[in-house]
């Protein structure tokens, strides 16, 4: 198994909080459009794909959905509450130490290894809660002896990670996740770029989505040790939306597109 750099790149999207079920998910199409818009006439072969797990999460949330339906008597309010739960509820209700979460992680890992087996260079774009799953799975893959040799990117099932609206800066996620897996000696660097809108409440946890400045999210994981082997950057973006709308507005943001373009072409 080795990555063949002449093969088309694969951008694998792992979604996060989302309304609807698996049939409604099309973020990989949005990422395809975004990357095409940044490539212009550059002849780069790539495909996009999506790892879906929403139905598993919906199942885990069903008891909360029922509870809200009991509480909210007004039909309009009921619909709003249900959507709100779908949107951000799974960030807090989807426990990451459960069999459901383990199934999601295992499925994502198998998806990545399938792309690796085919030899395609793979780049992960992870949104919201999906960024936590991506963080866990990529770091887990780095512990496997045959993978992520720091001297050769051909052994890397994931060439780079882009996170969008990640809640990894919140204590509920980062209190147990203290550091990234160090790649050891070598000169190749694993790249992680984290994009966040300053008013995105899922990033900040602030209920009114107040504007944030100087907020360290992914960069908390930077280490001065040269053996870490990661390049980690936080990139604030202005999606032009506010509050929860900002959380789902990354998919067509030009800065995100430029960052993805830079990652897959370098």
């Amino acid at each position: 198994m080795a990555v063949d750099p002449t093969k088309p790149r694969t951008v694998l999207v792992i979604h996060g909080v989302q309304t609807g079920d698996n049939a409604d998910l099309n973020q990989h199409q949005l990422i395809k459009q975004l990357l095409e818009s940044r490539l212009g006439n550059m002849p780069l072969k790539f495909t996009t794909d999506l790892f879906r797990y929403e139905e598993l999460n919906d199942h885990a949330q069903s008891k909360y959905q029922k509870l809200v339906k009991l509480i909210v008597a007004n039909p309009a309010g009921q619909a709003l509450a249900s959507k709100a739960i779908d949107l951000i509820g799974d960030v807090v209700t989807a426990r990451l130490d459960t069999s459901t979460a383990a199934t999601i992680r295992q499925g994502f890992k198998e998806k990545l290894l399938g792309i690796f087996d085919a030899g395609n260079p793979c780049y992960v774009v992870a949104h919201s809660l999906g960024s936590i799953y991506a963080f866990d799975v990529i770091n887990d893959l780095m512990t496997e002896t045959e993978l992520f040799d720091r001297q050769s990117r051909r052994t890397w099932p994931v060439q780079g990670l882009i996170t969008l609206g990640s809640p990894i800066g919140l204590s509920m996620f980062n209190k147990g996740r203290k550091k990234v897996h160090s790649l050891g000696e070598g000169d190749k660097m694993f790249r992680w770029v984290n994009y966040w809108d300053r008013t995105d409440p899922v990033v900040s946890g602030k209920i009114f989505g107040q504007n944030l400045t100087g907020y360290e999210i992914a960069e908390k994981y930077r280490s001065p040790s040269p053996k870490q082997g990661w390049v980690i950057r936080d990139r604030p973006v202005d999606t032009g939306k506010v509050w929860l709308l900002a959380h789902v507005a990354y998919w067509d943001n030009p800065m995100v597109g430029d960052g993805l373009f830079d990652m897959v072409t370098n």
């Binding site: 990451l96 130490d97 809640p167 946890g205 209920i207």
Partner: protein, 209 residues
Amino acid sequence: MCPVIVYLIHHPLRLNGEGQQVCGPSIDIFSALFSHVTCHLIGDRRESMVLFLLIPFLFLTTIPAHSADTLKQQASAAIKKFFQVTEPIAEFQGRFVDTPPEHGETCRVHMDFSESGQEYFTITGEYTPSTSIGEGMHFDAPDDTFVMVISEDDTLILEQHLRDNVSTGTRTSMRLHKQPEIITVTIRETSRLLFFSSTQVKHCVIPLE
């Protein structure tokens, strides 16, 4: 000259070095500053009247700034004493009981006091991701996140609040209870994000050799 009022208030949950409850003073900085500023705003001549009115008000509205540094230290000392361990790193294998089956059957209690400022006392299960050191007490957090340490005979209760801001954070309480042949570690963790909140309770039973 305006005085700076310092209130000494008693907090019932502080412990001495032996793990027993004691009462101790803590300084209410908020009250002191409020009084000082108000005094400047209104003027010295009315100082005594203002203070007379403020004192009952401040007693009712004080926000105590506990000397939580000692709570954090006491928490780590109480954990080591409870398990009677001298090594900086220890691990105990157990089983979940009265715990949702989605967390699995087996649990592990981890204690790592090897690296100053990075200590932790946590529980993991078979589905905890490999990147996570688990849920529990994290001693790399600020001192004032430790809000409770109660040690009584065979029971130890710890509580830590990690606040991202007013609407988001986690509250973790752990209750350790020692019986003749087992130790039961109960962890209750409430996570809040915006207007959502989720609580989970897990009981890990460790057999004693």
